[in-house]
């Protein structure tokens, strides 16, 4: 691979700032990519990788910062502008039209034609050429839906190349590819860079990154924290960059370790290909953290526990086996879920704060006066949580993210008789103050005897708040750590690699409920 250091960089993104309501997604991010280079973009979930790539694609406009292509400043006003400048982004959800053929997809919008008629043979030939270029051997007349994932990925790459892209962004291609298919994609990447094109490769898997990448930029909290030459670096080094030493919520929990029999005992949760978890126990008053990369199965596990999937679940609650076939049954049994997405899954954004907070509490008789009763029931809870709103009649969609999350929590506290609280990324998009506030409330609930299962991508938050941390890796719970005695970086290594260091409780060797 040639790296002409004298030429201007292919791409310079400098001082990129992008604000969303309640969050700062990019805070002075910088990315410099050379011609003919495979540049990896690393960072934990929420570090700002996708925002940065959406800015590059033209989907988002940055609030501040400049973008230079081959030394010239460019203004990317929309996805079309991005394409016109030779920037092609291959998203994880491939943006192909599944019912059209490969040839139709490749030449969508610019098919060769004679008058109003498409020249089908010519189109097929052009498509053939494009597919050959990326080393595909599938029929271009097959509908994309019928192709295996790897072939779809190659089609997406071929499509990116028909636009004569200078920069090709690949967003976690390995998430959907097997080992051999990944080899094919790697070969294509190498031939692309050999032609002088630049590839930006996003992945969580460090061994891939070390294999395919020339250099890597690491993002954390929206900022570029390191640029590494991958030839002279190690996975450990990169993990340290990604995690960072100073996290917002440091220190470990100082609560006394809860004792007693488990309130929630997860014997097994299995769903083929998605999740295979066994032997996680949560005592009353205990906060058990679930760590793992995106797609490690945290959300799937929580949904299964909440009766919201077809997974085979074998769980005992308070010593008695329970079968929870629906979220409604789970709620009746005393479970509560704070879902991953507040707006889509947690709240009714058009309804008022008090109506949202009371909606789960109305199932008890008398089934009358829901609004007055709801206001009465939820008022002390909303006060206790410190929800800031102009009035309980304000639509919940108008609140800040932290206050919205508190309303989700208020919904379950208002309902009462809570036994198990499941939290899925509860602090996503919250600022530091709101995060601390939320965890204070969760700890208060645990102190009242609620068993808490807390999934988060923010390891620092888990070590600061959890009594024990289970690491999920590729759908399996691989190890359990005690954050009081374990260094956060050791846990981080297990999160990224899935290997279990000596001293950690493993999933199946010892009874995981026993204190390590």
């Amino acid at each position: 691979m040639h790296k002409p250091d004298t030429a201007p960089p292919r791409l310079v993104m400098r001082g990129i700032v992008k604000r969303f309501p309640g969050t700062l997604a990019n805070d002075g991010a910088e990315l410099i990519v050379r011609p003919g280079e495979t540049h990896c973009l690393l960072g934990e979930n929420g570090a700002g990788k996708s925002t940065l790539m959406k800015i590059l694609a033209g989907s988002y406009r940055p609030d501040e910062g400049e973008i230079l292509l081959d030394g010239e400043p460019v203004e990317l006003t929309g996805p079309q502008a991005g394409l016109a400048h030779g920037i092609a982004v291959i998203y994880q959800e491939l943006d192909l039209v599944p019912d059209l053929t490969v040839a139709q997809n490749l030449l969508l919008g610019h098919a060769p034609s004679r008058g109003p008629f498409v020249r089908r043979a010519r189109r097929a030939a052009l498509a053939r050429e494009a597919v050959d270029r990326v080393g595909g051997d599938f029929d271009v007349d097959t509908p994309v839906r019928d192709l295996p994932i790897a072939a779809q990925q190659l089609t997406a790459i071929a499509k990116a190349l028909t636009a004569d892209a200078r920069i090709i962004v690949m967003d976690e291609p390995s998430a959907t590819l097997g080992e051999t298919d990944l080899r094919r994609v790697f070969e294509v990447i190498r031939s692309l860079t050999a032609q002088g094109r630049s590839v930006i490769y996003i992945s969580h898997r460090l061994e891939e990154v070390l294999e395919i990448g020339d250099r890597a930029t690491v993002l954390r909290d929206g900022r570029t924290v390191a640029v590494r030459d991958l030839a002279g670096t190690t996975a450990d080094r990169l993990v340290d960059d990604m995690i960072g030493r100073a996290t917002a919520l440091t220190g470990t929990t100082d609560r006394p370790r809860p004792e007693g029999p488990p309130l929630l005992d997860i014997a097994a949760v299995r769903s083929p290909g998605l999740v295979d978890v066994s032997g996680i126990q949560v005592r009353a008053g205990e906060i058990v953290g679930l760590a793992g990369l995106g797609g490690a199965g945290r959300t799937t596990l929580l949904k299964a526990l909440f009766g919201d999937s077809r997974a085979a679940v074998s769980v005992t609650l308070d010593g008695a086996p329970v079968r929870l076939r629906s979220p409604a049954a789970a709620v009746r049994a005393g479970l509560a879920l704070v879902p991953e997405s507040r707006k889509e899954q947690g709240l009714m954004p058009g309804l008022s704060v008090s109506r949202n907070a009371a909606v789960a509490a109305l199932s008890a008789p008398p089934w009358l006066a829901p609004r007055g009763r709801g206001r009465r029931l939820s008022a002390p809870v909303l006060d206790g949580l410190g929800v800031r709103c102009s009035s309980p009649d304000q639509p919940v969609g108008k609140l800040s993210g932290g206050n919205q999350q508190k309303v989700v929590l208020a919904k379950w506290i208002t309902k009462g008789s809570l036994k198990v609280l499941l939290l899925d990324e509860p602090t996503r998009g919250l600022d530091v103050g709101a995060k601390a506030d939320l965890y204070r409330q969760v700890r208060a609930l645990a102190d009242q005897g609620v068993a808490v299962l807390l999934a988060s991508s923010e390891l620092g938050e888990l070590t600061a708040n959890a009594d024990r941390i289970w690491v999920l890796h590729e759908g399996r719970n691989v190890a359990c750590f005690d954050p009081r005695t374990t260094d956060e970086n050791d846990i981080a290594h297990t999160v990224v690699t899935g290997t279990v260091p000596a001293g950690a409780t493993t999933a199946r060797a010892t009874p995981p409920g026993a204190p390590s």
């Binding site: 909440f306 409604a328 879920l337 009714m348 309804l351 199932s363 089934w367 206001r375 102009s390």
Partner: protein, 339 residues
């Protein structure tokens, strides 16, 4: 008669707690949205009484109420369905079926009260089946009720091979659809009672609150442990029952069951619901808006009649008024959300 009802609704909406500034402004725009319709309605009445002196006669008024009552009853059921973000296209066919079965059952010497109960129950069952299919199999309600529209209309024709039914109905039964208390038509009273009942259901029961929750965000409602599918099935059952009731009342007025009746009723009902400020995507709106909108639309039709404008012209005017009202509502709401 709509104005006092709406005013009562507003005091209920403001509630005992004094709202903050932001909320007060929102309430203000909400009131304008609602008043906007009432104002348009009153303005239209004023125009009508100037243009056509016979508009304000008690005879015309009671006529007007009688004409709007049947569509109104159906529109109330439709409001509940649309509040859950559903839609019921089958109401016209269910109403015709209800009207035919009640005529046939009375013809077979069944007690007319029992006959009404059977017809209304049949409507509820139709609604529950269509709504249940949509809720439990995640089929779009648009399609299940479109299928219902065709199938139930066909079933209605099959009952008598397309012929009208009945003719010899008891006097008491005729009173229901054609009778008056003083100058007020009984169907009008039934319409008011149904609207008030639905309004109370929405405001004062847990079920009503669930309707709003399901319509506002089905996924969040499900993950809050609400019986989403049962709620959806129930509102379709209510819509079916009310449609059948409208059919029964028409048969009572005409003394025969007409299998061809109520063609296109679903569109009139949906138009009234949307004109009344209920959001087609669910979660926002209420019965009182629908009530005013139904009266507004029939005043419009009445005015065209009194002025001797043909029915073709009426259709054009009704369509234009709908568009104007929707644009106005949208503009006011946009300004409200920006404030």
């Amino acid at each position: 008669m709509s104005t006092p009802t709406t005013a009562a609704d507003q005091t209920a909406a403001t509630g005992p707690r004094s709202p903050g500034k932001d909320s007060a402004r929102r309430r203000g725009t909400e009131l304008i949205v609602r008043f906007n319709l009432v104002l348009v309605f009153l303005a239209l009445c004023a125009v009508a009484s100037v243009l056509a002196p016979e508009f304000l006669t008690t005879r015309n008024m009671s006529n007007l109420l009688q004409q709007s009552a049947l569509t109104g009853i159906v529109a109330v059921g439709m409001t509940l369905v649309i509040l859950t973000a559903g839609i019921d296209l089958s109401v016209g066919s269910v109403a015709a079926f209800g009207g035919m079965t009640v005529a046939l059952l009375i013809d077979k010497d069944l007690n007319f009260l029992l006959a009404i109960a059977v017809s209304v129950a049949a409507g509820a069952v139709f609604g529950a089946v269509m709504g249940g299919l949509s809720a439990y199999l995640s089929l779009p309600a648009f399609m299940t009720t479109l299928a219902g529209l065709t199938a139930i209309r066909g079933l209605t024709y099959l009952l008598t091979d397309g012929e009208p039914a009945g003719g010899d109905v008891p006097h008491a039964f005729q009173l229901l659809g054609g009778g008056f208390v003083g100058y007020v038509p009984i169907v009008g009273l039934i319409f008011v009672a149904v609207a008030a009942g639905a309004g109370l259901l929405l405001r004062t029961t847990t079920f009503g609150e669930y309707i709003y929750a399901v319509g506002s965000n089905k996924e969040a409602a499900r993950l809050s442990g609400l019986p989403v599918r049962a709620v959806v099935t129930a509102v379709f059952a209510i819509s079916g029952a009310l449609a059948a009731l409208a059919g029964v009342l028409l048969t009572s007025r005409l003394t025969i069951g007409q299998p061809t009746a109520f063609n296109g009723l679903e569109l009139d009902a949906i138009a009234a619901v949307v004109l009344g400020g209920t959001n087609l995507f669910g979660g926002r709106g209420g019965v009182m808006g629908t009530f005013v909108a139904v009266l507004l639309l029939s005043v419009l039709r009445n005015l065209c009649n009194l002025m001797g404008l043909g029915s073709f012209f009426q259709m054009v005017v009704t369509g234009l008024i709908l568009v104007v009202a929707l644009v106005l509502n949208m503009l006011i709401e946009k300004r409200g959300s920006r404030a």
